[in-house]
Every structure is written in structure tokens, then in C-alpha cells.
């Protein structure tokens, strides 16, 4: 319909020097690919129950206890005032109904207790003590710069990451987010790459060639090797970037990085490492795409 409307509005102006002909004016046929058609799919509907439960998690967890308790009291009260003999038999229909109601009430009570006992522990994020910093290696190619900044933005949005440091080939390419405050001047503590690379944390990560997740940084003595991070950084991921680099990702919540976050960091490191490498390699031969559990094949 949009294409037809577009066609109706377009008309080639007549050339006054041209001899008039009886042929009608020609219209430009607009290709349907030039203007996207309006979306004709279904619209998502709101699930009020899901929204309510998500927003009031604590209240919903204790709701079965209140309902079960209230129904238990109601059954007992009704039994007391109705004048029925207080015997625990099922001879009358009223007694049988009361027994069923008691069973349901107890089920609700137990469900509420189970929900409360298996509630995930809420860990409050800690505001990092430090200063905001954004230090970029000068003369970085635009492609690498955009890749690094995208990595930071995605980590900031999707995880509890508050600090990011990327060191590659002995050079600190990026230090962004919250950093420790220098005691002398009101500035960020910059990364000392020489000191970092000689530390046990860095060497350990390179020896294992695997990601290292320090879920509660305060428990690790290697904390002193990361002085550029805010002193109250709660969790750190150390991700090797190939054989030449490392990414240090600091978070503000103990155990704040989930397993999917850790996997995402691994994949992001593949992309960063690919960007930083100077040699061109076929992407389909990259180790990141070697693990194909669906056997996707090549395009």
C-alpha cells in the first residue's frame, strides 16, 4: 500500500520542448526494498502476573503462608461456631470438606516456607571508591578504538562491570570506568604494565591460558597487584587475550558475574583479540568457532 501511495505521488514533469503526445504520463515504479513495509506481526502483550511477581518477589514468596494460615483459621473458626461436634472423623460431608481444606492450607503453608528458604541471597552492589577515568592509547586505529569502546559499553550495560583495563603487547590500550584515586593528586592511578606483567596474577592467567574469576576479591592476596582498581572492587575477571594481552574487568558486586557473563567475556575476548591482531586470518578457522555443537557449517 505504501508503494502504491508512493507511485501516486511521483510524476515525471513534462518537457515543454517535447512534442505533446497522446501517451499518458509515465510513473516511476518504486521498488519495495527502498521503503520498509510497516510491521504487520503480532504485538507483545503484557503479562501482569509475571510483572507483579517480578516486582514484588518478597511479598509473593510469603503470600502462601498468609493464605494458608488464614484458611486454616477460617476452617477452625467455622467448625467452632457451626456447632458440629469436634471429632476428627469423616462421617459427615462438612467434616470431609474441612479435612480437605486443612490439607490445602497446610500445602500452602509448606510452599511458602520452601519459597522463603530457597530465596536467592540478594547482594547489594557497592559504590566503587575512586575517580572516573578514560585513558586511551593514542594513535589507536579507529577500528580498534570502536571495538574497545563497544566492549566497555556492552559490559557496563549487561553486567556489574565498573572498571575495564585492557593491556596488549605490554601497552595499556584502555583504562576506563572507575579507577583508584591517587593519594597525592585527585587523579586516577594509572596502570603500570611492567609491574602488572611481572605479578603472579598475570603470570598465573597466562600459564593456565584460561579465564580467572575472583568472585570475592577481598579474599585474594593478589589484590595488591591490581592497585589501579578501586580499593573496594568486589569481583574481578582476568581474561587472557590470546598470547599477548589481558583484560581486567572489575565489578561492584560479590559474585556479580554469572556464568553467562563469564562465557560472554570469553567470546568478547575472541573478538578483541581478532581486532588487535595485525595478521589477517580466516574467521572461520578461528578457535572461537571451532566448537560447533550444532555443526553449523560455513556460509
Amino acid at each position: 500500500m505504501e508503494a502504491a501511495r508512493f507511485i501516486n505521488q511521483i510524476q515525471i514533469p513534462k518537457n515543454p520542448n517535447r512534442r505533446s503526445s497522446s501517451r499518458p504520463a509515465r510513473f516511476i515504479r518504486a521498488s519495495s526494498s527502498q521503503e520498509p513495509k510497516s510491521y504487520r506481526g503480532p504485538k507483545p502483550s503484557k503479562n501482569l502476573v509475571a510483572d507483579f511477581v517480578s516486582r514484588n518477589d518478597d511479598s509473593v514468596r510469603s503470600l502462601p503462608i498468609y493464605v494458608g494460615g488464614a484458611s486454616l483459621l477460617a476452617v477452625l473458626f467455622n467448625r467452632a461456631v457451626s456447632g458440629i461436634a469436634p471429632v476428627a472423623d469423616a462421617s459427615s460431608s462438612q467434616s470431609r470438606a474441612d479435612l480437605l481444606a486443612l490439607g490445602l492450607a497446610v500445602t500452602n503453608l509448606l510452599t511458602g516456607l520452601v519459597w522463603l528458604s530457597i530465596r536467592p541471597k540478594t547482594i547489594t552492589p557497592v559504590e566503587p571508591q575512586g575517580v572516573d577515568c578514560k585513558v586511551l592509547e593514542p594513535n589507536l586505529p579507529p577500528s580498534i578504538l570502536s571495538e574497545l569502546l563497544w566492549a566497555w559499553e556492552s559490559l557496563k550495560v549487561a553486567t556489574c562491570c565498573k572498571s575495564l583495563v585492557i593491556v596488549y603487547n605490554g601497552i595499556c590500550l584502555l583504562q576506563i570506568g572507575m579507577a583508584a584515586k591517587s593519594p597525592d593528586v585527585n587523579q586516577a592511578v594509572l596502570v603500570n604494565t611492567a609491574k602488572l606483567m611481572t605479578g603472579s596474577v598475570y603470570r598465573g592467567v597466562f600459564k593456565s591460558k584460561a579465564q580467572s574469576y575472583l568472585a570475592n576479591l577481598s579474599l585474594y592476596p593478589g589484590r595488591s597487584e591490581l592497585p589501579f582498581l578501586p580499593p573496594n572492587t568486589q569481583a574481578v575477571i582476568l581474561q587472557p587475550l590470546g598470547d599477548k594481552g589481558i583484560a581486567v574487568i572489575g565489578g561492584n558486586t560479590i559474585r556479580g558475574f554469572t556464568s553467562s557473563d563469564q562465557a560472554s567475556k570469553t567470546f568478547s575476548s575472541c573478538s578483541l583479540e581478532k581486532t588487535n591482531r595485525t595478521s589477517k586470518k580466516s574467521w572461520f578457522a578461528h578457535p572461537c568457532l571451532g566448537m560447533d555443537f550444532f555443526n553449523w557449517g560455513e556460509a
Binding site: 503480532p42 556492552s154 553449523w296 557449517g297
Partner: protein, 224 residues
């Protein structure tokens, strides 16, 4: 004229009954009505508690920490990997990487990324078999045009996608969740890349807030 005097006592058949009998009878009627009403109230209370008990597992699905439904591979549908041939190698690599990460790191079974009309499609899709890559690409493009996915300006999330009578038959059977992330930042800016990122899963409520934030971050990579 004669007057007959009745000597036998009066025994009217329609005389009023004694007060005590009447009171007892009305009390019994009232008690029976009261019993019935209290029994009805008790029944309603029992039914309400029963309904609430049956609804508990449904509420429990949305609580934090509840078990996430696992995805399963669709029984029907073709496994494809199609990238438009008219885009550069660097963008091809990025699309291949992004689709791989989405398939690997979320419960996605089908992913489609469109950038200015050029498609990258990967995973299980309900597409005709025995077609070349170029034909498949054109087929997907036609389907996308029919649905009008390129016009989507806000995120669409169907946690319980029930299937529709429209052209979403490209999704494989058993699709339960669909999430569409547009790449258009500002409809007035024509220089920004436009397109969308679509992911589908065979698990219900497959994409949590964190997953959607991560998918949005992936889309930012192509938004420019």
C-alpha cells in the same frame, strides 16, 4: 323460629396453632437456611483455597532463582547459515561471530541479523530445502519484507510466542520465545545503520532482563 344451642365444644379446623409449635418450626427453617448458607460459604472458601493452590506453580515460575526452562532442538526445520554476499569481509566476520555467540551463550536456536537489508541467518529455520545460499537469502528477504520486520522501532519480546497466522512461519515449530531488537536508534537519523536482530528459542521465557541487555549490546555493535 327455633334456636339451636350447641353444647359440644368449638373445634375449628382453621384455628391458629399454638405459639410454641410455630416458633419451633420457624427456628428449624431459619437454622436450616443458616446451615445451608454457612455450608455454601465454606464451599466457596474451599474452592478459593483450591484455586490458589493450583495457581502456586504458575506464580513460582516468575520468582527470582526459579529454574529456567531448557531449550530443545526443533524436530522440524532446516539448519542454515546464510550471509549476504554483497557485504564486506570484516562485516561478515562480525556477523558470524555475533550469531555464534548468541547461539552459544543464550538458549537461542535461530538468529537473524539484518543490516540495511542485508541478512545473516543462522540456526534452525522453517525454510524450504534444496535451495542454494543465494536463493535462501532472497527467500528470507521476501519473508522479512512480508512481515515488515525492518520497520520495527522498539524491542519486541514474546516470552510465550503462540504462533500467528501471519508470515512468521519462517520460525521453526516449537518456537516458544522470540525477541526482536531493532538497530534504529533514532528514526530521524538516516545515517545510522538500520535493521534488526531477531532471536528465537524453543524454551518459554528464554530471555531474561540480563539476556536482553546483552542482546541489545550485541546489536549496538552493528548500530555504529
Amino acid at each position: 323460629m327455633s334456636v339451636q344451642i350447641c353444647n359440644f365444644p368449638l373445634n375449628p379446623r382453621f384455628a391458629l396453632r399454638p405459639r410454641s409449635q410455630t416458633a419451633a418450626r420457624s427456628t428449624r427453617i431459619f437454622a436450616r437456611a443458616e446451615n445451608e448458607s454457612s455450608r455454601s460459604d465454606q464451599q466457596q472458601l474451599n474452592l478459593s483455597v483450591l484455586r490458589f493452590t493450583f495457581a502456586l506453580p504458575y506464580f513460582g515460575k516468575f520468582l527470582k532463582g526459579s529454574e529456567v526452562e531448557k531449550r530443545s532442538l526443533p524436530e522440524e526445520g532446516e539448519q542454515v547459515f546464510v550471509i549476504s554476499s554483497s557485504i564486506g569481509d570484516s562485516l561478515k566476520e562480525d556477523l558470524a561471530w555475533a550469531t555464534y555467540v548468541l547461539l552459544r551463550n543464550t538458549s537461542t536456536v535461530a538468529v537473524m541479523i539484518s543490516i540495511q537489508g542485508e541478512l545473516c541467518v543462522r540456526g534452525y529455520w522453517n525454510c524450504p530445502g534444496q535451495m542454494s545460499k543465494a536463493q535462501l537469502h532472497d527467500w528470507f528477504k521476501r519473508k522479512v519484507d512480508e512481515i515488515g520486520l525492518a520497520d520495527v522501532k522498539e524491542t519486541l519480546y514474546f516470552p510465550q510466542y503462540a504462533g500467528s497466522a501471519l508470515s512468521w512461519d519462517i520460525l521453526p515449530d516449537g518456537t516458544r520465545s522470540v525477541f526482536v531488537q531493532p538497530l534504529v536508534q533514532n528514526t530521524d537519523e538516516s545515517e545510522k545503520m538500520d535493521g534488526f536482530l531477531l532471536v528465537a528459542s524453543t524454551a518459554g521465557y528464554a530471555y531474561s532482563d540480563k539476556d536482553r541487555a546483552w542482546i541489545g549490546a550485541m546489536a549496538d555493535k552493528f548500530r555504529g
